[in-house]
């Protein structure tokens, strides 16, 4: 249970109409970020709605490190004010939209980092970032053999010999 902390608005040096949020990462780093940057995250938006209802603001505790959080904030501030189709809950589910150029550069990180980002994005409910990460991971395994995929995905072959050679019943219809 997050501890309720009242935040005095006057102590926060707000810019314009945007208010600040305090995010706390799993490694106990405090990150202050403008509210409208994080509005891309459904999770944060819901929290903010909760603040409005109770007129109490508190720090938002997040279960991932500041390193990952900063990366997510970097993403959100890059697309601040942009409309991204994937984030629109009313829009039709997007097809295989190409990875945006900036995203490609942004996600040019190692696999572990990519997995952390996608989990963080999933937790924060940022659909566009989840989508971009998913495409980036898919790009890594595209066209690879099963053995190479195990290596890349970090999974172990846990099939019994019979299972490995017999096709899975459901998969093959």
């Amino acid at each position: 249970m997050p501890t309720i902390v009242s935040v005095d608005d006057s102590t926060v040096p707000g810019e314009g109409s945007s208010r600040l949020l305090l995010l706390v990462s799993s490694d106990n780093k405090h990150i202050v970020v403008e509210e409208d940057i994080m509005s891309r995250s459904r999770f944060i938006s819901k929290q903010v709605e909760g603040f409005e209802a109770t007129s109490q603001r508190h720090a938002i505790l997040l279960p991932f490190s500041s390193f990952v959080l900063n990366k997510v904030i970097e993403y959100c501030s890059h697309y601040r004010g942009y409309y991204l189709l994937e984030d629109d809950p009313d829009a039709a589910p997007p097809g295989r939209s190409p990875v945006r150029e900036w995203d490609q550069e942004f996600l040019d990180v190692d696999r572990n980092m990519l997995l952390r980002i996608i989990k963080a994005a999933h937790y924060l409910e940022i659909k566009s970032l989840v989508g971009s990460c998913a495409r980036a991971i898919a790009d890594m395994i595209r066209g690879k053999t099963t053995e190479e995929m195990r290596e890349i995905l970090g999974v172990e072959n846990d099939f019994t010999p019979e299972e490995e050679h017999s096709p899975s019943s459901k998969c093959t219809g």
């Binding site: 505790l61 900063n70 989990k119 066209g143 690879k144």
Partner: protein, 544 residues
């Protein structure tokens, strides 16, 4: 804490906040953050997999149990894999009238029916029975056309085209047939279908008489409003007494040729009746469009066993004063002698339409098949050479004809050993039919009166990949075609185009001999004729 222009600021510590994250929860979370993709929620996993190609999804499902289960649980991933297995592509989005679940079910039925030849819908075609003197037959898409010739002596003879739409439960196509009457004074001799344009082209003619070609609309049964029935002059030698034959249709053009040593392949616009191009006389056995810019033709239909057959590819170029150049693709040396029969077929592009118009077969999977029957040491050997059209077009693109060239000879080693596949056919090869990337061969098991066996070869790379992954159908890899079938002569013909083979013994019918088989998109049509008279005794269709 004053960074007015920056939106992000980090502080390491702030006294007025407490951090109630328990250390155990944090370490648990860290444990979860294993360096494995499996640590991400299934939701994300299926999101990742959805952006992959079916081939990658299949490879993924072989990595571990968790991923396999995840793929098996997702209907849309299953659908992707199934589409891949059928060699189809999904149609335009928003056109589907069926749910993914429903489409998946239909696709699985389709695959199962073709793999095990478990025909779910067997239809007798009794109204065909008793048709006398039927000459040519053509099947394309889901339509079967039969010619009912009138008596040749009767000047006012009216000949009929019998068009049979083959039903399909899967594609919600009803059984339907109609008869179109062709006013003609001579005997109808050959028929060709183009279902994409809904055309039927039929020729009438007699020995040493001009050929008249009619273009019919399949929709109305009458003459096509745009087409002019035209009369082609038969410039035949007395050695060859046959009627000009339509070999292929593509767009506004027909490819036609008179059979015989001096036959001239012609490209004719069927809307105007004008010959747009013709090539030097060749002994044309079969002629077809390779793509929209080249035609492919095989010479020597087996009259002269001393002349080896040739495979020609001729570019369609604007008329120029110099005689047009062409490519000559050499057949393997050991096959260049004693050829009794040479026959070429291109697999027609299919349109597998389901009720919502949602999946299509892949036009990229076009194959050229060359059937050869060779008489050697008193033994008859039948071979089928299948080569993807892309192998030939790639060679042509890499070796353009220069203006001075007359013939570019392409040795077998340049094209055959990479993309072509030689299949040794059963000795008593009955009928060979092609549809898409499937080949059907009807032959008799062991003795002449043994049960009829239908062998279906499938060269679709997707279905082969699928069959390998599933381990269901027999997959014949290129390397397995070896000395065992071919003897030392053909030892070099091992190539790399695998296919799946299924053999089905036909249900016993009370008569023997005279069966013919046609492959169509959704099944197989058998027609049983009386030998010699050609009278249809029995006709049935197995569709899915």
């Amino acid at each position: 804490m004053t960074q007015p222009t920056h939106c992000i600021s980090t502080r390491n510590h702030h006294d007025s906040f407490e951090f109630p994250i328990s250390t155990t929860a944090a370490s648990n979370f860290r444990l979860q953050m294993e360096r494995s993709l499996l640590s991400v929620p299934n939701e994300i996993l299926s999101k990742i997999l959805k952006t992959l190609h079916a081939r990658d999804i299949l490879a993924c499902s072989a990595t571990c149990r968790h991923l396999r289960a995840c793929i098996a649980d997702s209907v849309s991933l299953q659908y992707t894999v199934e589409l891949f297995g059928c060699g189809m592509l999904d149609g335009a989005r928003g056109m589907h009238t069926l749910s993914v679940q429903e489409r998946l079910k239909r696709l699985q039925l389709y695959t199962a029916a073709w793999e095990k030849l478990l025909w779910t819908n067997s239809l007798e075609l009794p109204h065909l029975v008793g048709c006398k003197d039927t000459a040519a037959t053509a099947v394309s898409g889901d339509t079967l056309v039969l010619l009912h010739s009138g008596p040749t002596a009767n000047v006012d003879a009216v000949s009929r085209l019998w068009m049979q739409q083959l039903p399909s439960e899967l594609c919600a196509i009803d059984e339907h047939h109609y008869i179109a009457e062709v006013p003609c004074s001579l005997r109808l001799s050959n028929v060709k279908l183009d279902p994409t344009q809904e055309l039927v082209v039929v020729s009438e003619g007699a020995i040493l008489r001009p050929t008249k070609t009619h273009v019919h609309s399949m929709l109305t049964g009458g003459d096509h409003p745009l087409a002019a029935a035209y009369v082609a002059n038969n410039t035949m030698s007395t050695a060859c007494q046959a009627v000009a034959r339509i070999h292929d249709i593509c767009g506004d053009f027909l490819l036609e040729a008179n059979p015989g040593p001096s036959a001239v392949p012609k490209l004719r616009n069927w809307k105007t009746g004008i010959v747009e191009a013709s090539w030097r006389p060749t002994d044309v056995a079969s002629l077809a469009f390779l793509d929209r810019r080249h035609i492919i033709c095989i010479s020597n239909s087996g009259r002269d066993l001393t002349i080896p057959p040739h495979l020609y590819i001729m570019p369609l170029t604007a008329a120029s004063p110099s005689p047009p150049s062409y490519y000559e693709f050499a057949l393997p040396e050991s096959m260049q002698h004693s050829v009794e029969m040479a026959f070429l077929a291109t697999s027609t592009l299919g349109t597998d339409l389901s009720p919502g118009g949602c999946f299509y077969s892949d036009p990229a999977e076009r194959l050229i098949s060359i059937a050869l029957t060779i008489m050697k040491h008193g033994r008859r050997n039948s071979f089928l050479i299948d080569v993807p059209a892309s192998t030939l077009t790639r060679y042509i693109a890499a070796h353009p004809l220069s203006p001075g060239d007359q013939t570019v000879l392409v040795p077998w080693s340049a094209w055959g050993t990479h993309g072509a596949r030689v299949t040794v056919m059963p000795q008593q090869m009955g009928t060979l039919r092609t549809s898409g990337s499937r080949r059907a061969i009807l032959h008799r098991q062991s003795a002449a009166d043994g049960p009829a066996v239908l062998t279906v070869l499938d060269y679709s790379p997707r279905r082969v990949a699928r069959a390998i992954a599933r381990g269901t159908a027999t997959v014949l890899q290129g390397a397995e075609v070896g000395a065992e079938h071919t003897g030392a002569d053909f030892g070099v013909l091992r190539t790399t185009l695998p296919c799946t083979i299924t053999e089905t013994i036909l249900p016993e019918h009370p008569r023997h001999g005279g069966e013919t088989v046609w492959l169509c998109e959704n099944g197989v049509v058998f027609v049983h004729r009386q030998p010699f008279s050609g009278k249809i005794l029995d006709a049935w269709a197995h569709t899915i």
